[in-house]
Amino acid sequence: MVRRIARLRSGRLALGILLVVLVLAVFGPALAPFDPLAGTDAALAGPSADHWLGTDYLGRDVLSRILAGSTVSVLGAVQVALIALVVGAVPGILSVYLGRSFEWLSLRLVDTLIALPFLVFAVAVTALLGNGIPQAMFTVGILVSPVFYRVSRAAALTVSRSQYVEAALLSGASIGWVVRKHVWAKVLPPLSIALATTMGAGFVVVSSLTFLGIGVQPPAPTWGGVLASELQYLSYQPWAPLVPTVLIMLTVWAFNLLADAVRDVTGEAGRALTRPVTTPVAPVTQRTA
């Protein structure tokens, strides 16, 4: 699938940006030229040969703080998506097989999760449960899990009710073969679209939380945290938030592009499951004045 995504121009762009971001996340802390926590006397300095992006209000090197903070910011999004996958997909599949009462209860739980005011809940629950990274990841993961619940439930429904699966099993195919041949092909496209969208959404939420100092507390560096510390000194350096802002937006955009590319590559299959309604641009048949 990766090869087919790479054939699309938008897919190449998305993969390229995400690759750079991933390199930042893995090697960022090692690449940082200065100690991200060590303050100097040169507070709020502009960009210079030493400090490419200037320094913040404690004289800490901004570039180093961005590089060192990329691990939590980016890998956090991946962790959120993986937690959401497990938390959502397992009950989603079970809802088809465990009987009416479990089905009803899990459907209402999903309704509830969707109706909750997302960020307030994420902030409140994370802070109440101890304000650490694991708490933040699990809270956000559970809050975004409904997507995976729906995708996996829809897949399980088709499998449990389709005659070709029944026919395959009757003609002696092993369950493993049926899963590989029929189920996997049905599940993979919507699942990968949901993964890409969730990573984008998870990234936004994790950045928002770190911006508020929830989950990862200052002075630990994060992209959201760098933005927050520059907010207070906007009147001295109105341009300062530009780099972290662009980084955050590029990453979100790349995740969205990737989701669209996967959708294009896999055809309509994922469309109905992950997005409410989107009609493609249609040939114009009627036109008003």
Binding site: L116, V125, L128, T279
Partner: protein, 330 residues
């Protein structure tokens, strides 16, 4: 003639009550599950007023005494029931930190947050509807491409990023609007508006983008229906076709999205209030949560759940009244 009108009226009220019934069947469980999860947060967090008030001097006897005082020694479901009962009387309990009433602390703060969320909703609906309609009417032209590009760009901008950009441009560099604070509406409409419109704009981007997209595809879909062809053949004017046939049938997805976006607008309060230095309920929730003041946090969460449920009931009722298909109970 008169009997068909009566029939149509009956069908409509019948459709409305059926749709309301279906909405209630979803949102009554949502209310109870949401409040239950909220209430269970105390158990999950393992926090108690004793740790907040006694601090280092806590002995097991003193802790037990305080917990009994707060009614925390009762069985969990009894506590939940008592809590729900006082909720219905508008009583959200007392703060663990200073023993003050949470309801009265929330009223003033909720007004700030709700005015911002409300204004954001108005911005999202008007701009989103305008863009979506324009894109649908001029589909596949440069207008459509420009609008689609614009909505794509603003949909990848997280609200705190937008907020910071707005502060940097309009408040700090240009100095047109105040960067922080709140002025109650009683001190004049203009100062009030000047203080809340930047935060409202910051959280409205997501809604603008989604409403515009859904409306565009809804309208384009409606234009391809046979009854529109029929209306054109019958010689109806483009304005009548748009408002009577296309808009009423194509607006559904956009309205539904509005119902789904509203929780985000309410939740976005945490971030915008931090950026614009507003003492709304989002800030109250974040501060209380960091202090470990569980009842105060629960108060905010419950209020937001109630607002979301009520808003969704309103949206669904509007949906039934406007779109012909859903008033027939389809």
């Amino acid at each position: 003639m008169s009997s068909t009108t009566a029939n149509r009226g009956w069908a409509r009220t019948h459709g409305v009550s059926r749709a309301l019934g279906r909405t209630l069947a979803v949102f009554v469980p949502v209310f109870f599950l949401g409040t239950f999860i909220t209430f269970a947060l105390r158990q999950l967090s393992g926090l108690s007023p004793a740790h907040l008030q006694l601090g280092e001097s806590a002995t097991p006897e003193k802790v037990a005494q305080l917990e009994a005082q707060w009614g925390l020694d009762e069985p969990f479901l009894t506590q939940y029931w008592h809590w729900l009962e006082s909720l219905l009387h508008g009583d959200l309990g007392m703060s663990w930190v200073d023993g003050t009433s949470i309801s009265s602390a929330l009223v003033g703060r909720a007004i700030i947050s709700l005015s911002i969320a409300g204004l954001a909703l108005v911005i999202g609906v008007t701009v989103g509807f305008a863009l979506g309609t324009l894109a649908a009417l001029w589909q596949t032209t440069w207008v459509d491409r420009a609008i689609t590009g614009f909505t794509t760009v603003i949909s990848v901008m997280p609200s705190f990023v937008v907020g910071i950009a707005l502060v940097a441009v309009f408040a700090v560099t240009l100095g047109w609007f105040p960067s922080a604070g709140y002025v109650p509406i009683s001190q004049g409409l203009t100062p009030w508006f000047e203080h809340i419109w930047l935060p409202a704009l910051a959280i409205s981007f997501d809604t603008i983008a989604d409403v515009a997209r859904q409306l565009r595809s809804g309208l384009i879909g409606a234009y391809r229906e046979n009854y529109v062809t029929g209306a054109i053949v019958r010689g109806l004017g483009p304005r009548r076709i748009f408002f009577v046939h296309v808009l009423r049938n194509g607006i559904g997805p956009a309205l539904t999205v509005l119902g789904m976006k509203f929780p985000n607008l309410l939740g976005g309060a945490v971030v915008t209030e931090a950026i614009f230095g507003l003492a709304g309920y989002g800030k109250y929730a974040a501060d209380s949560a960091q202090r470990g003041d569980v009842p105060a946090v629960q108060g905010v969460l419950v209020v937001s759940i109630v607002v979301v449920v009520v808003f969704n009931l309103l949206v669904n009722t509007a949906l039934v009244r406007i779109t012909p298909a859903s008033s027939r109970g389809v």
